[in-house]
C-alpha cells in the first residue's frame, strides 16, 4: 500500500472520534496491540534520546523495501511510534524520502511532533529518513 493511502486510512480512522480522549485511547490501543520491536534490537545503539521518553528504532532492508520496527517507554509516544511504523515501514527508500508528515496534523496529534516536545519523535522521523537515504545510496 502506498504511503499516501495509509495516511488517508489513518485520517479516516481518527475522524470517527468526537473528542481528544477517544483519539488518545485509540492511539494508546494502537501502541499496545503492536509487537513493536524484537528485544534484541532494543539496544543503546538503536535508542533515540528525547529528554523524557525514549524511542528505539531498528531498520532492515529487504526486497528493496525498508522495514522499520520501533518501541518507546512512554505509552502515548508508543502509540505515535506505531502510527509512524505503519506509515513508513515496508516502503521503498524513494517513497519514504518524498513523504511528509502532514497527516499527523489532520488526525489531531500535531502537538506531539513539535520540535520542542521532548519525546524523541521528531528525531525518530529524521532517523527514518536517514535510513531511507542510506539504503537509497546502497541501491
Amino acid at each position: 500500500m502506498k504511503i499516501e493511502t495509509i495516511q488517508n486510512e489513518l485520517i479516516e480512522e481518527f475522524s470517527m472520534f468526537d473528542d481528544w480522549m477517544e483519539r488518545y485511547e485509540y492511539m494508546i490501543e494502537l501502541g499496545k496491540s503492536l509487537p513493536l520491536i524484537d528485544t534484541k534490537y532494543k539496544t543503546d545503539e538503536n535508542i533515540i534520546k528525547g529528554c523524557q521518553s525514549k524511542v528505539w528504532l531498528h531498520s532492515e532492508f529487504k526486497n528493496d523495501k525498508v522495514i522499520f520496527s520501533a518501541d518507546s517507554d512512554a505509552i502515548i509516544t508508543k502509540g505515535i511510534v506505531a502510527i509512524l511504523v505503519r506509515v513508513f515501514s515496508n516502503q521503498s527508500p524513494q517513497e519514504i524520502l518524498s513523504a511528509n508528515t502532514d497527516f499527523i496534523d489532520a488526525i489531531g496529534l500535531k502537538e506531539h511532533l513539535s520540535p520542542t516536545r521532548a519525546n524523541g519523535l521528531v528525531s525518530m522521523i529524521k532517523q527514518i529518513k536517514m535510513y531511507a537515504l542510506a539504503y537509497q545510496t546502497q541501491q
Partner: protein
C-alpha cells in the same frame, strides 16, 4: 494588632485577582498552574512596573546626564537596595545583578578558577540541579581540583554523617541548594555553612527554589554566596542576583569585560570599577532588575510567614489526596520540605501523565527536572512534579487528583 489579624486572614481568592494569567483557559479548561518550581506567575503589580518602565523612563543607566537616564538609574539602584534589605545584606554593593541563578553560579565558579589549585577539594550535594553541578565540573577540568559529592538518603535528604566525613578532606568550597528543585527538601544550610566554615571552606547556596517560600537572612546564615532568580518569585525571567560577602567580591576577578565594569581604560592597562559594577559588564536587564525589586515588595506585602503557612496547608492536603490514589508513590519524604511533590504512578510513564492532564488544563512538570543524579539514585527515568504557590487552591488540587485518576484509567 489589627494588622496581624489582617495578615493571618489570608484570602487566596483576593490574591488570585492579582494574577491575570490565572483566568485563562488551556485546552478549553480553566488553567491549573502547578509548575511553579519551574517559573512562578507574575502579578499585575509587577507587570505594571514593567509597562511603566518602557512607557515612561526607558534609558541606559549610570552614565547618562539626562533626566530619563537619571530616573532609570535611581529606580535600578533602589531595586538593588530592596534586594539588599530583603536578604539582609550588609551593603547594597554586595548584591550583583545577573541574568539568573545559572549566570550567578558561573560567575562565582569562574572567579574561583583563579583561586583553586590542583588537588583542592570542592564539595557538591547530590541534590543539585544541573546548573549547580556542571559549572563546577568545568572549573575542576580547568584547575584540576577534585569534585566530591555529598550523598543523599532514600528520604531525599543529605547524608550529614557523610558530609562531616568529607569535611575531613579540607574542602575549599561547598555548594548546596537551599531547597532541592526535584524533591522540595529543605537542606540544613545553617549547619552546613557553620561546619564548612570550621574547616575553612567557603559556601555557595543556590536559593532559586527557596526564595519563593523563605526569606533568607544572609548575615545570620553567615553565607559566603547566595544566588537566586527573579522569575521563581513573581518577577520576570532573565534576571537574578548574587549576594556575596564584600571580601569575596573584592577577591574574585571580573567575569566579563566590557563597558560599565571599568574605571579607566588604556591599551596598556584597565582599572576595574568599584563594586558592584566590576561584575556588571555591559547594559544590564534594567527593567528586569526594577521588576525584581517590585516582585520582592509584592511578596513581602503578603508576608513570607503567611505564604509558608498557606503553602504548607496545600502541601499537606495534596500529599494526603495524592497518596489516596492507588499505586502513586512520592519521591522525597523529608519532614523539612516545601510545596513540591515529585511522584510516579505504578507502571505509567511520567510523560504520559503530563500529556493527559495537560489536556485537562493542568500544568505540571515531567522528566528529570535537570537533576539526573537524583533520578539515577532512585533508579527511575523521571517523575511527575506538581509544585504549588500561594495563589493555588485546594479546589485546584482536587482537579489534579481527578485528572490523575482519569489519566490512570486511560493509561493503565
Amino acid at each position: 494588632m489589627k494588622n496581624t489579624a489582617q495578615n493571618t486572614a489570608f484570602d487566596v481568592h483576593k490574591i488570585r485577582k492579582d494574577f491575570p494569567i490565572l483566568n485563562r483557559k488551556v485546552n478549553g479548561k480553566p488553567l491549573v498552574y502547578f509548575d511553579n518550581a519551574a517559573t512562578s506567575q507574575t502579578p499585575q503589580q509587577v507587570i505594571d512596573v514593567i509597562t511603566d518602565y518602557y512607557s515612561n523612563y526607558n534609558a541606559n543607566i549610570h552614565r547618562g546626564v539626562h533626566q530619563l537616564s537619571q530616573e532609570a538609574t535611581d529606580r535600578y539602584e533602589e531595586a538593588r537596595q530592596t534586594i539588599q534589605k530583603h536578604f539582609n545584606a550588609k551593603f547594597a554593593h554586595e548584591i550583583i545583578f545577573t541574568s539568573g541563578t545559572t549566570h550567578s553560579i558561573n560567575l562565582v565558579a569562574h572567579g574561583f578558577g583563579a583561586i583553586l589549585k590542583k588537588d583542592d577539594v570542592i564539595l557538591v550535594s547530590a541534590l543539585e540541579h544541573h546548573s549547580n553541578i556542571v559549572p563546577w565540573q568545568m572549573l575542576c577540568e580547568k584547575t584540576e581540583a577534585i569534585l566530591k559529592v555529598i550523598p543523599m538518603t532514600i528520604e531525599g535528604e543529605l547524608d550529614m554523617n557523610q558530609f562531616e566525613a568529607l569535611l575531613k578532606l579540607n574542602p575549599k568550597l561547598v555548594f548546596v541548594n537551599h531547597i532541592s528543585n526535584a524533591l522540595g527538601t529543605i537542606n540544613p544550610i545553617k549547619t552546613i555553612i557553620e561546619k564548612s566554615h570550621n574547616v575553612g571552606a567557603a559556601v555557595l547556596i543556590d536559593g532559586a527554589q527557596a526564595c519563593p517560600h523563605i526569606k533568607p537572612d544572609v548575615q545570620e546564615l553567615d553565607v559566603d554566596f547566595y544566588v537566586t532568580s527573579a522569575h521563581k518569585m513573581c518577577g520576570p525571567t532573565g534576571v537574578g542576583m548574587i549576594y556575596a560577602k564584600e571580601q569575596w567580591l573584592k577577591k574574585l576577578p571580573p567575569y566579563q569585560g566590557g563597558g560599565e565594569m571599568i574605571s579607566e581604560v588604556t591599551f596598556e592597562k584597565t582599572t576595574y570599577a568599584d563594586l558592584p559594577h566590576k561584575f556588571e559588564a555591559g547594559t544590564p536587564n534594567i527593567c528586569g532588575g526594577i521588576a525584581f525589586g517590585a516582585a520582592i515588595n509584592y511578596m513581602n506585602a503578603i508576608g513570607f510567614d503567611t505564604i509558608a503557612t498557606y503553602e504548607n496547608e496545600l502541601l499537606e492536603y495534596a500529599t494526603k489526596q495524592l497518596l489516596a490514589i492507588e499505586g502513586l508513590k512520592i519521591y522525597g519524604n523529608s519532614k523539612q520540605k516545601t510545596s513540591v511533590i515529585s511522584f510516579n504512578i505504578e507502571n505509567i510513564h511520567a510523560y504520559d501523565i503530563g500529556t493527559i492532564i495537560d489536556k485537562l488544563g493542568i500544568a505540571i512538570r515531567t522528566g528529570q527536572h535537570c537533576a539526573q543524579p537524583i533520578m539515577d539514585f532512585y533508579g527511575i527515568s523521571g517523575t511527575a512534579r506538581a509544585s504549588f504557590a500561594f495563589y493555588n487552591t485546594k479546589e485546584e488540587i482536587d482537579r489534579l487528583v481527578e485528572a490523575l485518576k482519569k489519566a490512570k484509567m486511560m493509561l493503565g
